[in-house]
């Protein structure tokens, strides 16, 4: 890929040499400085621009990234940072991730893009067997913390079997990696920068439904949001709802409807699924006594099961009703039947009422 070019640019062109102090403590993500209203893919694009700007050993690669990617998340990166740092790979997911692990092991920041989360399975072996265990089995001599894998996930209305899957549960079962899912543009930018700079390999799932639909005020400066901290995005007292990604907007609608019936819902965005913030959820359940978890992935073995089991362990005597899970059905993600498969607002609403009236 022309390593001579990288060195040439570093020394000859006097690129930015400053290194930000990389910590995952909160830098502010609220309105300090200019904020513009942009959508999710633009926010991610900004985050990638900042990541490459602040670290000249950061690379972005994947299928079709150099023209901007099929979702436009990588627009402008190749033009700005050159083809030595932003490049297309051939169609080989296993190779892409394995190659990324190698880059990360040698101290680079490798930001790999998998075009759709549905295609991540060939790379599953590399992620589970290599990325997650690299630091552990080398006794901390090597690590691939610089690896971040980004993949669009989730339903999009017409995706069918292979453009709509939510595979987060598979990855949450792997000690050694982190799994992060943002719910909105401002969260995405901050979380993605934290993931890139986190000294552990991270799988970052982006809700593809929100790429154009979600628009929010996003600060233009460099900021990071903490990992492994859940956020209570709506206060309530009757029931706790836990979710992540695009599903939160559906849950929010259900909460609004439930409010009309006098049910006060507390809504929590997990943000990081692995390792997840048990304390925040537990504190909320101790307050309300009821919990409902919702995700698009099939209900059996979905991440909701882990949350449910943990909460029951910790808050058994406090619970007033069984833990409810409103999730996708146990079928492959359907094409024509998508509206029936999805955990819709009405299904959540019914479950809220059933739980509250238990």
């Amino acid at each position: 890929m022309g390593f001579r070019n990288i060195i040439g640019r570093r020394l000859g062109l006097g690129l930015v040499r400053r290194r930000k102090p990389f910590s995952t403590a909160t830098c502010d993500g609220d309105g300090n400085g200019n904020a513009k209203s942009i959508n999710l893919y633009s926010a991610i694009n900004q985050a990638l621009h900042i990541a490459l700007e602040t670290d000249n050993r950061a690379f972005v690669f994947g299928e079709d990234v150099s023209f901007g990617g099929v979702f436009r998340c990588t627009t402008g990166l190749a033009d700005r940072f050159g083809k030595a740092r932003v490049f297309n790979t051939p169609l080989c997911e296993q190779g892409i991730v394995g190659f990324g692990i190698g880059l990360a092991a040698m101290g680079n920041r490798a930001i790999a893009e998998i075009q759709f989360a549905d295609y991540i399975y060939p790379a599953f072996d590399q992620i589970v067997n290599e990325a997650a265990k690299f630091r552990y089995r080398s006794g901390n001599q090597f690590n691939c913390g610089g690896l971040t894998i980004r993949a669009p996930y989730g339903a999009v209305g017409h995706g069918g079997h292979y453009h709509s899957q939510s595979p987060e549960a598979f990855f949450c079962h792997v000690p050694g990696i982190k799994v992060v899912i943002p719910r909105s543009p401002r969260q995405a930018k901050g979380l993605l920068l934290s993931c890139i700079r986190d000294p552990n390999p991270v799988v970052f799932f982006e809700p593809k439904w929100l790429y154009r639909l979600a628009v929010e005020e996003v600060p233009e400066h460099d900021y990071m949001l903490p990992l492994s901290e859940a956020e209570v995005i709506r206060q309530g007292s009757d029931i706790t709802l836990v979710g992540w990604g695009a599903q939160l907007s559906v849950m929010e609608q259900a909460c609004n409807e439930a409010e009309k019936d006098g049910i006060s819902c507390e809504l929590i965005d997990l943000k990081t699924l692995l390792p997840w913030d048990k304390e925040t959820v537990e504190a909320s359940v101790r307050k309300t006594g009821r919990v409902l978890i919702s995700h698009e992935a099939p209900v059996t073995g979905g991440f909701g099961a882990e949350i449910s089991a943990s909460i029951v362990e910790r808050c058994f005597l406090r619970l007033e009703a069984p833990v409810a899970r409103v999730c996708g059905l146990d079928t492959p993600f359907p094409l024509v039947f998508e509206p029936f498969y999805m955990p819709t607002k009405n299904k959540i609403l019914d479950a809220i009422k059933a739980t509250v009236n238990y």
Binding site: G2, N5, R9, E63, D64, F67, G68, V70, T75, G76, D79, R80, G82, K83, A84, N88, T89, P90, L91, C92, Q94, G95, D118, Y119, P122, H158, G159, G160, H161, Y162, H163, L329, D330, T331, P332, P334, L335, V336, F337, P339, F340, Y341, T344, N346, K347, L349, D350, A354
Partner: protein
């Protein structure tokens, strides 16, 4: 030599990039001129022997078939490559493919079908050239660009259109959609959205055929499997694994590469260390052939040999068809990256126009015959759309069916009845 020149282009690129230029989707790398090495020109391909197609030698000689076909033609002009019936059959199949795909585009933009739809315009010669030589029991494995493979294999246009509309009368009862055409009757094993996923499946199907013949002693079983896939797939591990297995076990399979030079926005020349895919065959011990995929007659000649080889039990073949898709990758692709000169070059080599010219020049068919076929196909496609429109949408209980072997899905509930029959199970307690 050519890979070196490509590599040279890539490595000089960063210096010439102007960072302040407006972001555009134009590829900085210039598309090589049409007269370059393997695009349409077979001059540089070495002919190991003159007139015979050396597909029988295990060491895998690469033969420039296009040259051989040309030779054949010039040697004995009165002998034509096809008869009138065959010519009309080929023409009809290609017209069906083209008309169907055009209708798909129309229906998509009218909102009648949805999802990710990938059209085959321009590549008809490959589908027709290969599949029309198959018997019903031969298997075909395709990719997401599978409508025309299904049609060529014999799946009725009505069934394919209904499937695209998501209706119960579709070939997969509406559960598969555009990218997943299956047909047990016609031995079409899919329809794979994931690139490369179909190749191992095809390898397994080919193994069955060989097993039936040699172990189960069904002497008549000489079924062949064709695996179709694109240039991007040739960089994927599954492809190499299967080439190895097929050659190792001498499976009756033909690997057909539809090299249309583009994997969404990734040019084949920039993604592959050696862009000449046919060379990968001999590396695994099978012949590798390159053929002009815009010429149905040439494709058919190569296909005859490759399929014949497989039927005789001589093992697999890798055929690279140089072809082109006239539309974007999918109906959602704005198709801004490809050089208009490149598109024009291939548009001039439209396989349907070429076959039409051949038929008329060699007096195999008249304009009137061909127009009659055009009209017939128009009616078939219109009828398919009407049929699909009028077909019923699948009932909600179908959602849960076919997850497991029990087609009713999910087995028996606590009340002893099939769970999918319980309205509460699909509707939940909520209305959708």
């Amino acid at each position: 030599m050519n890979s070196a020149s490509c590599a040279a282009k890539i490595s000089t690129q960063p210096f010439s990039l102007n960072p302040t230029s407006p972001t555009s989707h134009d590829n900085p790398l210039v598309f090589p001129k049409p007269t370059s090495f393997f695009l349409g020109s077979t001059r540089k391909l070495r002919l190991s022997s003159s007139s015979k197609l050396n597909l029988h030698r295990r060491s895998g000689t690469v033969v420039a078939v296009s040259d051989v076909v040309k030779q054949k033609k010039s040697k004995s002009t009165p002998s034509l490559l096809i008869t009138k019936e065959e010519g009309l059959e080929l023409y009809e199949d290609m017209i069906l493919g083209r008309a169907f795909e055009d209708m798909c585009a129309q229906m998509y933009y009218r909102g009648k079908m949805f999802g990710f739809v990938h059209l085959y315009n321009g590549q008809e010669a490959v589908s027709t050239g290969f599949i029309k030589l198959l018997k019903q029991q031969d298997s075909v494995v395709s990719t997401y660009r599978d409508h025309v493979h299904a049609l060529s294999k014999g799946v009725p246009a009505r069934a394919v259109m209904s499937e695209l509309f998501g209706k119960t009368t579709g070939c997969c009862r509406g559960q598969g959609g555009s990218m997943h055409m299956f047909s047990r009757e016609h031995n079409l094993l899919g329809g794979f959205a994931f690139i490369g996923e179909g190749i191992p499946v095809a390898t397994g199907a080919a193994f069955t055929s060989k097993y039936k013949r040699e172990i189960l002693k069904e002497a008549d079983c000489d079924h062949v499997t064709l695996a179709f896939f694109g240039d991007g797939t040739c960089n994927n591990g599954q492809f190499f694994e299967c080439l190895n297995m097929a050659a190792l076990w001498k499976l009756p399979i033909v690997f057909v590469v539809e090299n249309n030079l583009w994997a969404i926005g990734m040019s084949h020349l920039r993604a592959t260390s050696d862009p000449q895919i046919y060379k990968k065959g001999p590396a695994f011990g099978m012949p590798g052939i390159h053929v002009d995929g815009m010429d149905v007659l040439k494709v058919r000649e190569v296909a005859k040999e490759a399929i014949g080889r497989a039927r005789r039990g001589e093992g697999p073949t890798l055929v690279e068809c140089e072809t082109y898709r006239f539309r974007g990758h999918s109906l959602a692709d704005p198709d801004e990256l490809r050089d208009p000169a490149e598109k024009a070059y291939y548009a001039a080599r439209d396989p349907i126009t070429a076959l039409k010219k051949y038929l008329i020049e060699n007096s195999l068919a008249s304009e009137a015959d061909l127009k009659a076929i055009d009209k017939k196909i128009d009616e078939v496609v219109e009828d398919a759309v009407e049929f699909a429109d009028e077909s019923p949408v699948p009932s909600r209980s179908q959602l849960l069916e076919n997850v497991f072997a029990d087609p009713k899905g999910f087995g028996i509930g606590p009340d002893g009845r099939y769970r999918c029959e319980d309205p509460k199970f699909t509707e939940g307690t909520a209305h959708v």
